[in-house]
Symmetry: C2
Subunit: 394 residues, 2 copies
């Protein structure tokens, strides 16, 4: 219990809470109830695979945050949160996946005890772990409170990373390099895809030196051939084949911090159109890195890439990147800014993005991406050190 | 595209859809919109790590189910669903995690096109992937439709498994045996926990023979010592120590089907109270298996275990099992019936449960569990073949 178990020091958590409270004040909120596991961990250090039941963090205008969840997980909260036990609350097990009770009834009781019965409370309306039913029960239980949509209120505070966080992401980046290198090295015709993925997991979880590997928020995406034209298929037991491209969408993870890195391998001789696309993609990434500087906007990064693509007569739609850092399944993105033409977020030093200008074509996919850090001055820094090319194994 | 990619044959999907339609009729529904990835896969075969964006399956009173999701994932749907392309729908990428648009606006358009503008539509109010915001947008877009809570309507249809499904779970069980055996064999003082987890992942994903391993819906839970008193902590880089118990909560996975299996290892000489608890737990499991027979109720299994525990002067609260089968993160349970004292579900042949009477005490945790199949007659069949004991490595 207490700070000795949390990944960061007291000053870092104080910084996060102060930022969040400033955002709450701006939004006119007395409290937020945060269900996003990444937001919970960012505010309190809580870390456990328990987000499949209702749980969350209550932050009011003063005092420590409150962690609330299933009783058996409150024991895990005592062992991972930086707060001492007084603000950790567990609900009885017969609320879990019950057809006659709902955990939000217990949460309402605690909110009442905290004097929030008539408060203006922000909830994350758009989050995996705040169900439509949870909202219906909570609002019915607290008819005199006012509920406001505070989706991503905390996520936006996470956009600029502290030095401590950047150090974690750099460790994750070293693990990412190892993981992608392993995937490329072990790729060969006849290798079953699941055996390759087993090596990828092994490389990532063993980590690098003392920096042990945590589980990434997304499993390895490693599709080959036509499966690589779809973005998010997972593996099967089919052997890799000569004449096919396979992309690796992977990330190392260090204490929940990510640094995604994608590369593509071709077994055999790639078609000419793929080699041309490779050239465009690499030149486009260089242009994007140049545009990814403090003061520019997210759209500028996207447009810099698209301008190069256009020169090569190629087209691409969809977003081309998102902020990364602390995350839990099912997504390693932070779900705030995006590298897309209509996104106008101003880039600031300390922001970290997965710059992800993948090309998914009719008969193949080509993923070459970078996790990047926005610097005080100059172009963005790619945090992984890995040749930026289509890897050809002939 | 089509049945050649789907894990099951046409008759199996027809069976599932007929069961679901019968439940819809009973609930007075014209259609259901299903967001649970497990329900989507069960109805259509869809399989991809794309549930971090909005997607789902629409089932009406007749015709094929409709899969709806992000455009790039609709390509994955074409490659994994049993339906041909006409009922697969993709929405534009600028709906994804947008602050100005919501994918439910696109879904509403499709529901209108399907003539459901004034229909009675079931939605899964209590599901990770149906957010409070999604419900608010969808209901606002279709003011003349009536929305009913159809949480777990499809999940309940999954409770009794077909022969085809049981064959998949048996394959998963073989992988589970391998995974737990690996964990026990590799456990030793000084072994870093993350290195052990790397071996666990490797064993599970390589699978057994031709039965390649898929990713389990929960990462390996492997806490030692005091961390094992909390239920859901994940690993770190600390070495295993003599004098500590470590429990392994693991599952093999074969094409999304699970067979969870937990065992506990003690490095050194276990305390006497743990050995007594072991005895009670094993005798209790035997009693539970005897009670887990067709015609009995879920509560009977729970009570049979608790009666034995009582005899030994031990107490335990909380549920002691749940149905398992097809699943996606964050949970491998089906979220319907539970082995708990207040649950009255009648057991039927073909049901499969993770019978999970773990004991979490003040200074240690002891997990010995079985995936079980309810038989036509007689006691339940444990699907894994693994010594039922506390594994002591002295």
């Amino acid at each position: 219990m207490g700070l000795q178990h949390a990944p960061f020091g007291a000053a870092e958590y104080a910084r996060r809470i102060a930022k969040t409270r400033a955002a709450m004040e701006k939004a006119g909120l007395d409290a937020v109830f945060v269900t996003d596991p990444s937001n919970q961990a960012w505010l309190t250090g809580y870390d456990g695979w328990s987000f499949y039941v209702h749980q969350g963090v209550i932050l009011t205008k003063d005092g420590d945050p409150h962690w609330w969840g299933r009783y058996m997980d409150s024991l895990g909260a005592l062992r991972t949160c930086w707060m001492e036990g007084a603000t950790i609350h567990g609900y009885a097990d017969n609320y879990v996946q019950s057809t006659v009770r709902h955990p939000m009834q217990d949460l309402a009781r605690i909110l009442r005890e905290l004097g929030l019965e008539k408060a203006r409370i922000g909830v994350e309306m758009e989050n995996y772990y705040y169900s439509a039913k949870a909202h219906a029960v909570l609002t019915a239980e607290l008819p005199n409170a006012t509920f406001a949509d505070a989706t991503a209120l905390v996520n936006w505070q996470r956009l600029v990373k502290s030095e401590d966080e950047i150090a974690f992401i750099r460790k994750a980046a070293k693990i990412s390099e190892k993981v992608v290198r392993t995937a490329i090295e072990k790729s060969a015709p006849g290798v079953r895809k699941n055996d390759l993925v087993a090596e990828i997991f092994h490389a990532g979880i063993t980590g690098v030196g003392d920096d042990w590997g945590d589980y990434p928020a997304i499993v390895p995406l490693t599709p080959s051939g036509l499966d690589a034209t779809a973005a998010h298929l997972t593996w099967n037991g089919a052997p890799m084949k000569a004449g096919e491209a396979t992309f690796f969408e992977l990330s190392g993870c260090y204490r929940r911090y990510h640094a995604p890195l994608c590369r593509t391998v071709f077994l055999g001789k790639p078609p000419q159109e793929m080699l041309e696309a490779e050239k465009a993609q690499i030149e486009g990434i260089e242009a994007g890195l140049e545009a990814a500087r403090a003061g520019n906007r997210t759209a500028d990064v996207c447009n810099a890439f698209l301008d190069v693509l256009k020169k090569y007569g190629l087209k691409r739609e969809g977003r081309m990147g998102y902020p990364i850092g602390l995350s839990y399944p099912p997504d390693w993105g932070e779900r705030t800014a995006s590298f897309r033409t209509e996104d106008e977020t101003v880039l600031e030093p300390g922001m970290t993005f997965h710059f992800m200008p993948a090309l998914w074509m009719e008969s193949w996919g080509l993923e070459t991406t970078e996790t990047i850090l926005i610097k005080e001055t100059g172009a963005a820094e790619p945090l992984c050190n890995m040749d930026r090319k289509l890897f050809v194994k002939d």
